[in-house]
Structures are given as C-alpha cells and as structure tokens.
Amino acid sequence: MIEDVKQVLAMHRLMVQSRVLDEACCEESAHWFPSQGEEAVPVGTFYGLRPDDVCAPAYRGAPIVYLMRGMTLEQVWAGALGKRTSFGRGRHFSFTAPIELRVFPYIAGDLGPIISQATGAAFAQRYRKSDAVTAVSFGDGTSNRGDFHEAVNLGAAWRLPIVYVIQNNHWAISMPIEKATAAKRLADRAAGYGIPGVAVDGNDVLAVHTAVQEAVRRARAGHGPTLIEAETFRMRGHIAADTASYRAPEEVEEWRGRDPIQRLEARLADAGVLSAEDAQAVWAEAAQEVGEAKAAAQRHPDILPTDLGLDEMFATPLREA
C-alpha cells in the first residue's frame, strides 16, 4: 500500500541521489565511508522532520541528511574535495554540516559521544518547553559503547523527546555484530531502559519511516524516547579503500538481492506510480546533478595555510593584560 505517493517518490529520489553521490565520493576519496545499501535508514529516519527538530545522523550516509536539511550538493562536494568553501574550511572531514540547519556535527573521530549530545539537544527542547524533538542514528558497533548505555538510560529516565535509531549494518569495520553481542536483537535492549524497542526492516524505507514517525509522535507528546533497530547491511568496506576481505562474499551477495532502492522501485512499479522509464529518469537526473555539482565545486578556491585559524580557538577572547 502506498498511501502518500508524493512523499514516497521524494524518498525514492533521495535514496537514488544518496547512492549516486556516495559512489562518486568513493571514487574521489579512498577514505570515504561508503553507505551503499543503507540508504533507507537515513532517508526513512530523517525525512519529514520539522525545521526546528534536531538531526544527528550516523556518519555513514549522513550527506543525504545534510541535503535534506538544506545543504546543496555543491556544498557537500566542497567538503568532499577539501575546498575552502567547505563547512569547516578544511578543519575536519566532510561529514559535518552547518549547525544552523539543526544538524549536529560530527566533531571528533570517536563514536558514541553524539548520542548524549543529541540527548542534550532533547534536554534543551524540554528546558525551553518546545515541542521540537531530536532524532539520532548510529551504528550497531556504536551501540556497544558505554555512551549508548548512559545516554539512552538518561534520555529514558527523563522522558526526553528523542528517537534513538540503530543503523544495524552488521559490521563494525571487521567485527560482525554476532560476535560483538549475545543479544539476538539490538532493539531488545530497550527493555532494560523501560522504553519501547522496535525492530524494523532497515532496507524498507517505508517501514523505517513509519516506525520513526510513530516514535516522533510519542516524543512530541511527551511520552519519551523510543529505541529503533533498523537492520540493513554494509555492502562495501568500512572505507572506500577497504576490500572487506575478512567476510564471506556470499553474505554480501545475499544482501545484494535485498537492495533497498531496487525493492522500492519494484513496489512502486507494482503500485503503478513509477514506471521503469520514470525510475531511469530519476537515476539520470541524479547523475547529472551530482556531476554538475562536482564540476562546480572543483572550481572553488583551495584551502590556504592561513586557514589553520590560530586566532580562532575561542569565542570569548582573552583580555590583554
């Protein structure tokens, strides 16, 4: 059943755009974090949130969320290409976005702290008596960190307006989730915090979106957090240069048959809302947009040695004696 055609087509377009952009970025940078095959989770999670809601997407696949929040493809490319016009001007990798878009930046390279920072955004929303909410996503690997436990426990104890989404792609670099925990389902951990835990098919964008929207309604109504586990699969290595030789090719091939974009296109074709030609047009348009944006960003100025920002450490300067 496709209830809101316009909305589903929009999510399809975003997933295609994410795939095309990700493939192009992987070609550009050996250190890019590929998100191919996981698009349904960021798109389904962060689609349809209000401008005053706070988004804290997992780093893998985050650029599509930045685009959803109003960043342009050219700006994303400026980051990927390390241009002077990038947000952060070369001070960080590109998976950060302007804070004014209500997207929490990835500040450092360690995983987990953003879960409690997002919980802090929800705390601020409560403090200000706003009905805005926060959504944060992170990987299955990150869910084994103490940060996850402390943050979800606190968010639950204080019934904060936040949705915690585990983007379970089965692999934390070379560590499979089966060896990282004895838990059968990561969503089951919610019971330990006294909040609802929901496991969804993370390669079904409508299932993800429906579950997250229900959790958002609960949060907005003051009923506290929900923990959602969206099960998907990391189709490539941890970074573009990682050949993932540590895992069986059969596992990857099995998941290739569950590709979230192909599945959505088949469903939309069955429902008669997106023909094969229509779908082709979406892919072609995305390829053109991504290519044009890259070409435009390549003309942007390069980072300068003076961009180190020696005098820009503090917001409140020290008074001279």
């Binding site: 409690s116 606190l154 503090f314 917001a315 409140t316």
Partner: protein
C-alpha cells in the same frame, strides 16, 4: 574594599546563584546537587531557590552528563556541569577533550560552547578523591582551565566562566572549600580568565603556585621575610591559557623561579611554566628553575603517608633556599 567574609565554597555558590538569577539559560546538572546540596556542599541552597526546573540531579553517568551539557550548549543554553570530583573527569574524557573544545574552531565560530565544568580536587576534609589531574587538560587546545585560591577569585572567576562562550574547566580545591574564609567584594565582582595575580610582591625570587600551594607559598614567604629574603608569590589562577606576560614580568624582576603545585611534578603544569620562562626569559634567570610537586606515586590514603606525599611549605622553603644559593 567593602565586602563580606565568606568561605571559598560559599563564594562559589554565590557566584553561581547570581548568574542563575541574571540569565534563565543557566542551569546546573550533576550528581547529588539537588536536595543533598552537592558533595561538600558545593551547591548548597541552589535547589531551594531554583528547584527542579534549573537544578538537575543525574544518575552516575559522567559521560552522558557531559554530552547532554554539550548538546544543550550547542542549542544555546549555558550549562554548569558539576562533576563531583576531578577523578571522575576521566569518565567523561571524550566529551571534555575531543568534542567540547573543538566545536568553535571547527565550525568557524558558528557554534559556541558556553559550558562551565566545575570539579573538586586535592587534599580535603575527608581525604577522598584527592588526585589532581588538571595538567591533562592544559594540554588540550580550546579549553580554558582555571583554579583559584581565594574566595574572592572563586566567585569572580566562576561568574566569568559562566558568562564565557567557551568551555571552562573550573578546579575547586577541597582543602580551601571550608578551610579559607576571606573578604569577597560586594556588587558585580568578576575576575578575568587568563590573568595571574601577584598575591605578595617581592624582589628576590618568584614562587608561581596554584590553589592550596598559594597559601603554603605565602606561609613560606612570611618566614623568609624575617631572613631578609623577599619572595614574590604569583597565583597563576588560570592554568590555560597561561598568563605568560605576568609570569615573565615577575621573573624578569626577581631572576629566580620556583613553581609549586599539589599535582605530580612529572609532566605537571610546572614543567610548562618552567619551559616558558626558560624559552622567553633565560637571560633574566640568575638560578636554575626549581619545581615543587608531588612524588610519582598515586595519592596515598593514610594520613602519615599522605603527609609524606603532599608538597608543603617546607618543600617550598627548601626550593627557595636552593635558588637563593645562586648569587646575583
């Protein structure tokens, strides 16, 4: 100067209270800071005045508490995070050193982190949680680190820290908490972050010290006055960024430097102070620089070995004697 006498901790709480009255975005979050009144009475009276809308008792989750404060700061609030004891900072290190200090620089100034983190260190009435790890944090770009020694500075620096738009780590010495009572000026009293202060002028030797060691240095200086040796006692107050101008001016005048802190000597702040002076005022030195700090063992529990461990006025006096052996 008109003022009223109060203890170090009373001055701290008064500073927080005034800033909370002034700005509704200021709140306090931490363990046992509500009806309990804070460990060692660090928040006494705040719960009664501001209640659960502004004072937030947390579970034992230092890392999440720090992350929540950082997130709230990114959303424009001005959190005061109360980490009961400095030893527990270790549990929140990612937030405190990898995340909070980086944001302003990383975002080209678009995001700010007006976060005050207060914590207790050093020898104290119960002797618990005494370890002094402040030097760790002076190594981190983007953090401001303060450590006052008097009630007036405690209040003035606390108010400055809360109004500051950067993360400020505020070390409160437990021996001083209830052990020092002094005059705190009336009215709007702010002490600028980044400024050391000469607590006692002298011409023969500079003793640069922090927190409790400032008092022990003053005690030693008093004894030396009888011997005709004029010791200048410099309270560093802000540990990062260091007030090198005041430090260098003092050493250029006296030509001799002793650095004293309760933390371990090896890798301590004294090493940075000594290196700064050696680099920038070598020509003014008339004697080698001597550091006074704790020996390289964990802080022991029993009072007998605790006394053997802690740097004291005698240790500072020995260091002053050592540098005074070098004639002008």
């Amino acid at each position: 100067m008109p003022g009223k006498r109060m203890t170090f901790v009373e001055a701290l709480v008064e500073g927080i209270r005034e800033e909370m009255r002034r700005d509704p975005n200021v709140f306090v979050l931490g363990q046992d800071i509500g009806p309990f009144g804070g460990s060692l009475r660090s928040t006494l009276g705040l719960w009664e005045e501001f209640g659960p809308a502004r004072i937030f008792d947390t579970p034992i989750s230092e890392s999440a508490a720090a992350g929540v404060c950082l997130g709230a700061a990114l959303e424009g609030l001005r959190p005061i995070l109360d980490i009961s004891f400095g030893e527990f900072l270790a549990s929140a290190m990612p937030q405190l050193v990898l995340h909070a200090p980086v944001v302003h620089w990383l975002t080209l100034g678009k995001a700010r982190v007006p976060l005050t983190i207060r914590t207790k260190v050093g020898e104290g009435p119960y002797g618990g949680h005494p370890q002094c790890f402040e030097a760790w944090f002076t190594h981190v770009p983007g953090l401001k680190v303060v450590m006052p020694s008097t009630p007036a500075d405690a209040k003035g620096l606390m108010k400055a820290a809360i109004r500051d738009d950067d993360p400020v780590l505020f070390f409160e010495h437990m021996y001083l908490y209830h052990g020092v009572r002094d005059v705190v000026p009336d009215g709007e009293h702010l002490v600028p972050i980044g400024r050391a202060e000469v607590k006692r002028p002298g011409k023969d030797v500079t003793v640069a010290a922090t927190a409790w060691m400032v008092h022990r240095a003053l005690q030693a200086a008093h004894q030396f006055a009888a011997e005709g040796i004029e010791v200048e006692v410099l309270d560093l107050r802000t540990l990062a960024p260091l007030d090198t101008a005041t430090l260098l001016a003092s050493v250029r005048k006296t030509g001799r430097l002793v650095v004293a802190h309760e933390a371990w000597k090896i890798g301590g702040l004294g090493a940075e102070v000594a290196a700064t002076v050696a680099e920038q005022a070598f020509g003014s030195l008339r004697a080698p620089i001597v550091r006074v700090g704790a020996p390289h063992t964990p802080v022991p529990a029993h009072p007998t070995i605790r006394r053997a461990f802690l740097p004291d006025a005698q240790g500072i006096a020995d260091a002053v004697h050592a540098v005074m052996k070098y004639a002008a």
